[in-house]
Amino acid sequence: MMPSLDTVIDAGQWLFFAYFVGLNAMYIGLNLVALRVIGRDRALQQLDQGPVYGAGLEPGISLLVPAYNEAATIVASVRSMLQLDYPDFEVVVINDGSKDDTLLALREAFDLVPFPEAYRVAVPVQPVRSVWASPQHPRLRVLDKANGGKADALNAGINAARHELFCAVDADTVLQRDSLRRIARPFMEDARVIACGGTVRVSNGCVVEQGWLRRVGVPRNWLARVQIVEYLRAFLFGRLGWSPLNALLIISGAFGLFRRSHVIDVGGYRPDTIGEDMELVLRLHRAARARRLPYRIVFVPDPVCWTEVPEDLGVLRAQRMRWQRGLLESLWLHRSLLLSPRAGTVGWLAYPAMLVFEALGPLIEMTGYVFMALCFALGLMSGTAFATFMLLVLGLGLMLSANALLLEELSFHLYPRWSHLRTLALSMLVENLGYRQLNTWWRLRGTWTWLRGRPAVWGEMQRKGHAR
């Protein structure tokens, strides 16, 4: 009996070890790609000497802003969007059957008048009740429609968009004046680009006035601080690393630019999914690869928008469970991409990595922690062995977080004060000593609720940044 138990424990240890090494090897690989990309862009960015644009060849962009019960913040958000620095764009707000005064707030703030839109239905959506326009701001239109969810609202916006590129923006997202210029650049540089995402940064602790970010700061709340490091990791190498391989699987729903005709060709956003942003990107990959189209889905490391992250454990838990469900749902819907002969880097690299390390990751990781702890508690593993494995997990996690800080320092250097740096370095420690394990637990719960087919919980978030 004992030898076989030893064998099981040995095998468990090796598996857990191999998983962590594999996971971190992937992240290190992505890091190296990201370092190369950022290093290459650095000289031009610092000197600002690249041939500038100005010949009027920039493509027009339709900003699509789905709004559901956003009466408190929508006016400031739209005002800031109307002031974006870009030659040709329009703002289409889609009031998705809000129960509050979102539409009234917009009507009063922008003197909206009914507009006789010859509404076309390229993608089926819930009925559009009315369309409004502003004599003061000809770039602004507002669609008022029956509630159908974010994906349905975005589809309604796609139907009404006048430009070939559309930018999906969350109503509570804080943009930078040059956000559109930064994210449109890949479309101007490569005609094959059909979608582009950018880095989303944490706005907690920053000074936001009238929808604009005035000063970058670090929040007092530790949960939000840890998420700054987490976002740096996720965006600066998690996504930037996949982009040169044309294997980016996620473009954040908070801010992403798409070629409208390609999105319409694949049927628009799916209203019956939670992770509609990831699902659309996977569908675009799948369709383009099936048709052997030359295409690129890319990512720019530039900070294009800022979002407020939860400072409350309950809301954060609901968010992470929902994200995990969205991930599983999207991967399941597009499982035919996995190791498909035509799927290239998406099917042979990104999808398997996402499946093993992100979708199944929480299960493997939590099993590993429980297995090690049990072995230790039952005296089947020495304290030294247990401590060694925990040290390895901590060491690799810290190394990756430190590299994310390095990438940030090398590229955008957005946290200028020494106190910011100190706080972020400490947050790295908290992230790897507790937060990550908690997150793993929530994601495991998200996996369980998805398997049981329970409805997702959204959580009520008290926003603070926009109040200023």
Binding site: A43, L44, G50, P138, W418
Partner: protein, 361 residues
């Protein structure tokens, strides 16, 4: 210390490996944090130096550009790079005598020699700065050194070399830029367009027209948008010829967007009945530029097109026709039996009312 830690894990290979990796990752973490700190120290030193240079030299540069003289402050070697950067940034916004005066100052400060030395530096930052400086100096003797960089594998470097060469010899470089633009998919349209627009060489329209006459469909799709930047009688004629011979719908739509003058009128009318809606839509728009009152009937029939975009463009063109006043609009609306045609007309009328009353651009 390491030996004692390793001896504590015994002979277990897995544990020894795990411990070694843990130790290594913690060491790398410390190394990375040290690198972050040193980058920050270097960055704050560089910022301080730049601020110092800007405070001392900006008034001097501005005075020189204005034709005045101010005593030059001492220039330690550590301040040369930030000063060259400042000089290049200021030059970007200057033309004419002010630009020339700053060029003379740069010659006196030895920027040219330094830039020429850095042209083949392994440090991207230096190469980029060298190209920016040489572009402003625009000395014919640099053409030979700049020429190979036009084919640099980094698109940013090759485009900066193109900018410098365009300033040295725009006629010779325009042709090279157009040819390389067709060969290099990594040369973005917007940047090449900006380069050609700023070069403003009157011969570039003829060069572009020549390439339009010889290009195939994929090349035409890349070249046609440049017509908007370097338009001339030669490109107008080339677009006319292209409309006659092209069959690819994308090419036709792109060419229609550039059609001007009365020559292509008949062909545009013909293309307004094309099977591909993109061509019909572009033709509906083009009729506003090349057509006349005779095309009203054609445009009215396009208001009932199955494609929304064709209806939309036709309505925009119709309402934009000279002399098509409110009375005409009412009569047209009353005579339309197709609901889609009526709806699109009402929408475009409302759009125009909004544009007319709007204060925003």
């Amino acid at each position: 210390m390491f030996n004692s830690v390793f001896s504590a894990v015994g002979d277990d290979h897995l544990l020894r490996l795990a411990l070694a990796m843990a130790a290594m990752s913690l060491l790398v973490t410390v190394g990375l944090l040290v690198q972050v700190l040193s980058l920050r120290v270097l960055a704050s030193r560089a910022n301080r130096r730049q601020a110092e240079v800007a405070a001392r030299w900006r008034p001097v540069l501005v005075a020189v550009a204005a034709g005045e003289t101010l005593p030059q402050p001492p220039l330690p070697s550590a301040q040369r790079v930030p000063l060259m950067q400042l000089w290049a940034q200021l030059q970007d916004g200057l033309r004419g005598p002010s630009h020339e005066r700053l060029v003379a100052l740069a010659a006196a400060l030895g920027f040219g020699q330094r830039a020429r030395r850095w042209l083949h530096s392994v440090r991207d930052r230096r190469r980029v700065l060298a190209l920016a400086v040489l572009a402003h100096l625009a000395e014919p003797r640099d053409a030979a050194a700049l020429q190979p960089l036009l084919d640099d594998h980094e698109p940013e470097v090759s485009l900066l070399a193109a900018r410098a060469l365009l300033r040295v010899d725009s006629a010779a470089t325009c042709a090279q830029v157009l040819d390389r633009y067709l060969q290099r998919p990594d040369w973005p349209l917007a940047q090449v367009g900006t380069l050609l627009m700023r070069a403003a060489d009157p011969r570039s329209a003829a060069m572009l027209a020549d390439r339009l006459d010889r290009a195939d469909a994929p090349a035409l799709l890349r070249l046609l948008p440049l017509v908007g930047v370097v338009q001339g009688p030669e490109t107008d004629a080339a677009v006319g010829r292209l409309l006659q011979r092209a069959s690819d719908p994308e090419v036709l739509a792109a060419a229609l967007a550039l059609a001007r003058g009365p020559e292509p009128q008949d062909r545009v009318r013909e293309l307004s009945r094309h099977a591909d809606w993109r061509v019909r839509s572009a033709a509906a728009q083009a009729l506003g530029r090349v057509g006349g009152q005779l095309d009203r009937r054609e445009l009215v029939s396009l208001l009932s097109d199955p494609q929304w975009w064709v209806r939309y463009r036709a309505a925009q063109t119709l309402l934009g026709l000279p002399g098509f006043d409110a009375v005409d609009q009412q009569a047209l609306a009353a005579g339309l039996h197709d609901r889609f045609a009526r709806d699109i007309l009402a929408q475009v009328q409302a759009e125009q009312r909004l544009q007319a009353s709007g204060t925003a651009p």
